[in-house]
Amino acid sequence: MRTKSGIAAGAMLGFLILLAVFVPILAPYNVVQAWNDPGAWTNNPKLAAPEWSEIFSGKHLPRTILLASNGEPGGFDKVRISFNVSGQTYTIVVLRKSFSFQFDTFPSEIKLFMTAVFGNATGTQIRVFWDRPDGQEIHLFDGNPSVRAPYENTYSLTGPSFKDPSYAVYSSVRDWLIAKNVTNQTEWASLYPTSGGIYQNPPQTQTMLMGRLNRTILDPETAEVLKGNYSFRIEFSGFTPTDDANARAVVYGTVFGLAGTDYEGRDLLVALLWGAPVALAFGVAGALASVLIQTILGAISGWYGGFIDEFVQRTADFYLIIPTLPILILLGILYHLGILLILFVLVVFGVVGATTKVVRSIVLQVKEEQFIEAARSYGASRSRILFRYILPRVMPYTFALIALTVPAFIFLEASLSFLGLGDPSLPTWGHILGDAYTQGALFASRAYPTGLWWWVFFPAAGIIFTTVAFALLGYAFDKVLNPRLREQ
């Protein structure tokens, strides 16, 4: 084990095991449960690169700024007044929050989430204002909350969807820019032509909301960030004494965390960390079970011979030609197997196989050795000879084989997950790669000229790291078994 590969394998495996031990503490299992709940990730930017990647761009890239009422950090200042005028109750809620924006590029998105309590009367209204560091105020939009608390009304201030108030924001921004003589109707219409009511080339409102007020603001490529304090002002008016409103606003950055996020805004670090214990447990359990069963069956086959031998070997031949992956794919399509069931199926399809054959050939050799005959001569039973004399001779080989089989199981699980047939509830490395593949993560786009590299790189690196660790361990065992390899 004192070989270079042994030391490297030890260090790598030690790291993985530490990770597997500490991950449940760092990111408890409920984080994983939340993985498939898109609502749990609304505070994260979508498709954000890792924070540290800004060192390549040389710019201070925007982090996500979360503004929320209800006592959370960065909460809104809130004033609520309820009064009665000639039998009619009016409730006014004013929410205000300012934040400092000191980054070099624009945020990726700005969203406003409102929870509101209101009566049946029509006319319950919210008015949203945006104050800029240069003293400008833009009346973003007026809206009517459509759902009551605890559900949130979501208003995207930047998105291109026609259904949400961005249409209103768009008009507000346009009117503001025309009023400030930055542009005119004709130029605007030529810059952002409409077709059938949907913007063909929607303006990126965040660049206009947060850009310096001059001609450059019209083009997202040239717009300069206006640094300073911005603030939201939200006015809610309702008609019952119990009416109330709270708000949460998120100014989404373009970078997030250590490993970035995926298309749902999910923190890829969680998946990356959870991938390690899952891959380790799956690979080691699968390799241990199948190699040990195959070893014992191979030893039994070689030692007892005759019909048992024939039966085990022919079954092994049969199993060897069964294509396990297609069968697993079929089962995955039909039954949506959980990870334990996948493991079970893999072990069931691996009870006999190549190892059975190799171990049998070793046993055929060992069984002719003198000490086996000696054991027979003093009356040791056949099973005693098998377990006390023969299996210990085969075991060193088996250990090496287990280490070398672990990567195969990790790859298999990753392949299944990649194909979308793995355990859907667990964010395994293969699962992440599968998501990245279906979302076209590696295609370069205008917004992401290098593609979504972090989405592919980290899970792939995880798989490679783990398999290399086990492969090195296997080679280290191999050198113990075949001392001649040490010379080279």
Partner: protein, 408 residues
């Protein structure tokens, strides 16, 4: 005469192979009294180890025939079923030191547990007590107790051999089969081991079956000697007799093959190769290589033809043999010879008869010719009947037709 501790009668062990049955042990009988040592001596492949294995019922899968009587301590253990045999005979009654002790130890087990293994297998004994007994047994063979914690690869050849002997003694058997116990050891270690075996024989009241091809070691340890040739005992008798005045020609040749320091004579050898045990020669199995074979020894027609062909192709002898066109065995003891068309059949028969008369002392197979008769186109040669010689004698027996005639 005391009852023998081991009496082997007509033991037969044949193996099934693709070429036909291998007569590995073919009717071997000997008796061993308590405290005696019998040395089974023979060439490689003569069936010595097969004899030992068949006494301990260590049979491979391809056994074709396994019969005879092995009377141990008054009981015919061949009648026992496997479980009874395991309980009474294996290691408790008869133990074995295997050929090549180097490999007779499990490399993954410590020496102590290896020595104690028969104890654990046979008696439901406490592990610690077994370990104590193992250390005691190691002490008997002159090894210190701390050896027990070592692995076999940490020991020297001689030490391993002692461990194997300790293991064979752990259940206090009456008979120990020593299958070439010293064959891979240097001479000094061999001597040590033989001395150890001698001491143990006296202190533990053992009987040995000592299987070896080393006549020197056999003479050192043996009371009785059994000479094994082609699956049969050709001579068995007291060591001092057999080694000094061997009765069987094979024993004589074997003894002559041992190099001697003070003798001018070069070591002798036996021409030819040991016979194929799938098809042992008829009559005396040694007759093909025997320097003194004669009429009764059992030449068969195919062997005769083979020998004539050998004479025909040899540069020295091809002119002596009358010109023959073809030879054919009619049955085992009759062959037909068709001469080259040159003169009459009678003339050829004449030439053949004179050749036989002239050269039968040199080419002893010619002695087996009983009659030469002329037929229409061929000459018919009849050979003497082939009969395996019985073991002749009482305490010192040998199977050779010469002994029947009274000479040796």
């Amino acid at each position: 005469m005391p009852l023998p501790v081991l009496d082997v009668k007509n033991l037969v062990l044949w193996y099934r192979t693709r070429k036909g049955p291998v007569h590995a042990v073919d009717d071997i009988s000997f008796a061993l009294e308590a405290g005696q040592t019998i040395a089974l001596v023979g060439e490689s492949g003569s069936g010595k180890t097969s004899t030992a294995n068949s006494i301990l019922r260590l049979l491979p899968k391809n056994v074709l025939r396994y019969e005879g009587e092995v009377v141990f301590d008054g009981q015919d253990v061949m009648e026992f079923d496997n479980e009874e045999f395991r309980k009474v005979v294996r290691w408790r009654g008869i133990s074995m030191v295997f050929q090549g002790a180097m490999n007779a130890l499990n490399p993954t087990t410590r020496v102590g547990s290896q020595v104690a293994e028969p104890l654990i297998v046979h008696y439901d004994i406490d592990r610690r007590e077994a370990a104590d007994q193992a250390i005691e047994a190691l002490g008997k063979v002159g090894l210190s107790g701390d050896i027990a914690r070592r692995y076999p690869h940490e020991l020297s050849g001689g030490m391993k051999q002692r461990v194997v002997i300790a293991m064979s003694l752990i259940l206090k058997p009456k008979v120990v089969i020593l299958d070439e116990p010293t064959s891979a050891l240097d001479v000094m270690t061999q001597t040590n081991i033989i001395n150890l075996l001698k001491d143990l024989k006296n202190t533990e009241h053992l009987s040995y079956i000592f299987i070896t091809h080393d006549l020197g070691l056999a003479s050192e340890l043996a009371d009785l000697v059994g000479i094994v040739y082609a699956g049969q005992l050709v001579e068995v008798g007291p060591a001092e007799g057999v080694f000094v005045r061997p009765k069987h020609p094979y024993t004589g040749k074997l003894l002559a093959s041992v190099p001697r320091l003070r003798s001018e004579a070069a070591p002798d050898f036996i021409p030819g190769v040991p016979p194929d045990l799938t098809d042992p020669p008829p009559g005396c199995r040694f007759h093909l290589r025997c320097p003194v074979s004669f009429e009764k020894c059992g030449w068969s027609a195919p062997e005769f033809i083979e020998q004539v062909k050998l004479l025909q192709i040899s540069e020295e002898t091809k002119d002596k043999v009358p010109a023959i066109e073809a030879m054919k065995a009619k049955d085992t003891q009759t062959l037909l010879i068709k001469p080259v068309a040159n003169g009459t059949i009678a003339e050829f028969a004449q030439r053949l008869t004179s050749f036989i008369a002239q050269d039968q002392e040199t080419y002893r197979f010619l002695k087996s010719v009983e009659s030469v008769q002329s037929k229409a186109k061929v000459v018919e040669v009849k050979l003497h009947e082939a009969m395996p010689p019985p073991l002749i004698g009482a305490d010192w027996r040998a199977s050779c037709w010469l002994l029947e005639a009274g000479g040796s």
